[in-house]
Symmetry: C2
């Protein structure tokens, strides 16, 4: 899943809080993956891209491809990276590029719904679901599809679309489809199915799978996502959606993404892997360290709890690893009923569980901010436990 | 207006025609502005952009701006270019960047409609209207807005949105709003209001105006458009749309667009202007030459007619100039009822007038293809007139 369309970038309230006292506001509401910047700085010129003024001027990339605006170089690197990581089957799939995976979610809803249906098709996802799904499905008041809430409580007859997010945003657990029925159309949002976040157990092998550069390499500003699509007609309809929506996807960013994905694949080569220069090794270690620090602080008191995960064998690293999600799904124990408000009182901005269809006792907190912010967060959390 | 979402990039039929005989298929259906490539090659390194791997990683550009994903550099160059050209008032306007102006049209429809209205607001445009407007308005089956056809025949009471395209795609004429009524909300699509296409009479001064890099400089592959928006709440809602649709706009392309627009502004400086290096002088001369050649061929027979335009004073060039649109709106005179089929028989691919809400006696033909293709087109047209 991509990131956090809903209400995440309204910074005014944060700014006013910031000015009111000396204690700094720590904003971990949205999931801006700026943690990765340091790695890319260390890489130096390796992923610098140069585009002359006369290049990539046409709308068209490859008229013979179903996705006529897909840059061949980008598609090649997508396939290569999935092979290197082993997290997705690409054989027999069409690659459809999108302006981030948000556009691809909308394209998929469009492609899987029928313009002739008597009523909009229901769109469901299990609680806690990604907070932007409801508004993404409903903001256009589309007659094609409509948000229908929690997949676990969904009992309407007829066709439906289920968004399966695995590992899940916000809680980090691995997921399978919840509505076990015929006539279900599945969209697998695997934005976080990468080795730094979760053990890679086997290549994902679904009808329609979404990934995004934002969460893979941290390049959110490129706005590049991709879909792996089994059915040709679905790939065509998704392409049509993007044609009507934005007439294609930035070529500049596709070329840049190709270069970045290529560098990631190359960094995973045997030698670099051993030298600790692999992108995933770097990011895995960073996440491991953060989750260790977080667990230590949380375990030191009884105010908060966080999810417990079982380790599993990761085929990419060739060893057992533990899930260490991009977000922590934190619960306030005891009397605190509204965890978001409680933490806001301590100048930590998080996203309330209610936005994910869950209890206000939960909040989602980004684990991908800068080292500086993360350390401040850990210290603040520790101070809260001592004070309260 | 941007380009040609509807059915323009399906190349299979073209390919099969191409293989069937020796006469080459000339495809002028879509408006890919590749004519400009030569200018940018001549500019050499001046607009080459270099982006290091660690740059522009965040979603965010400027949290204090209404349009939080707008790159400041890009906004600066937009304002500067409008000042240099004199084609739009930018004072008191919010700049909203979009993934091409197609996304901005959808964002404007979203922003100008009301989620609480009893029925979708009508969207109209005068015939001949841009062929993609109907499908752009209707493909989502939105409950917010709905295509209602020709603005001249529109007589429904209540609020409506009128798309005012000036100069118009397909026919090149200057336009004002057609529905002269209260409760009308106007979107001015001024993609072609640049000196190479039409005399600049005065700075446009509307509530909501759209432009796009595709038609200004020819960089369609960047997918960068911008809106100048008077009302703060409308700018906010448009930003919200883009947030829900694609969570912002490629930063790489915004930075590249900034560099290209800057080069255009600089090329219009006094000295460059005189030396013939101005981008608009170059492109104006090229368009003038093409229209002259076209008129000569059309006037040599009586099979075809094309629009006649009156010259007007252009404040940018400081002299009278004549409109020379990016498309020619060609009419088959005499017995030919279906001009598109007729020309297709001669292996010229055009877009039928029916797609613009007009008679099949008309077709739209791109004037922005390469020199080579344009010359082939002129020769083919000439041959048709001799043969038939």
């Amino acid at each position: 899943m991509m990131e956090d369309a809903e209400s995440c970038f309204t910074t005014s309230s944060t700014a006013s809080l910031h000015n009111s006292t000396r204690e700094k506001v720590i904003d971990l509401d949205h999931g801006d993956p700026i943690m990765y910047e340091r790695f890319w700085r260390q890489m130096g010129d390796k992923t610098t891209i140069t585009i002359p003024g006369w290049q990539s001027m046409s709308y068209l990339s490859d008229g013979s491809n179903i996705c006529w605006f897909l840059e061949a170089e980008f598609a090649t690197e997508v396939v290569r990276l999935h092979k290197v990581v082993g997290n997705a089957v690409t054989e027999g799939r069409h690659v459809v590029v999108g302006t981030g995976s948000s556009q691809l979610i909308l394209a998929a809803l469009y492609a899987l719904s029928s313009p002739d249906a008597a009523e909009p098709i229901s769109v469901v996802s299990a609680v806690p679901y990604y907070s932007s799904y409801p508004s993404m499905a409903d903001y256009q008041k589309s007659g094609l599809y409509q948000w229908a809430g929690d997949a676990e409580n969904f009992d309407k007859e007829g066709p439906y679309i289920e968004l399966v997010t695995s590992p899940n945003n916000p809680d980090g657990y691995r997921r399978k489809s919840m509505v076990n029925r015929n006539q279900g159309l599945l969209i697998h949002d695997l934005a976080y199915y990468w080795p730094q976040y979760t053990p890679i157990s086997s290549p994902s092998d679904h009808d329609l799978t979404l990934f995004t550069a934002s969460k893979t390499t941290g390049h959110a500003g490129m706005r590049i996502g991709w879909a792996l699509v089994k059915d040709k007609e679905v790939a065509k309809k998704m392409t049509k959606f993007i044609e009507l929506n934005t007439i294609g996807v930035s070529k500049d960013s596709q070329l840049r993404a190709a270069k970045v994905l290529k560098a990631v694949s190359e960094s995973c080569g045997e030698e670099n892997h051993k030298n600790g220069e692999s992108f995933f090794k770097y990011s895995y270690n960073l996440m491991a360290q953060r989750w260790k620090q977080l667990r230590e602080v949380v375990d030191a008191g009884d105010m908060f709890t966080i999810p417990q995960f079982s380790p599993a064998f990761c085929t990419f690293f060739g060893k057992e690893t533990e899930p260490q999600p991009a977000f922590v799904w934190l619960k306030c124990e005891g009397d605190v009923e509204d965890c978001e408000t409680f933490l806001r009182g301590h100048k930590i901005i998080t996203r309330s569980g209610t936005q994910f269809g869950a209890s206000p006792k939960y909040v989602r907190i980004s684990m991908l901010d800068t080292d500086e912010t993360f350390i401040q967060f850990i210290e603040r959390l520790s101070a809260i436990q001592e004070r309260e």
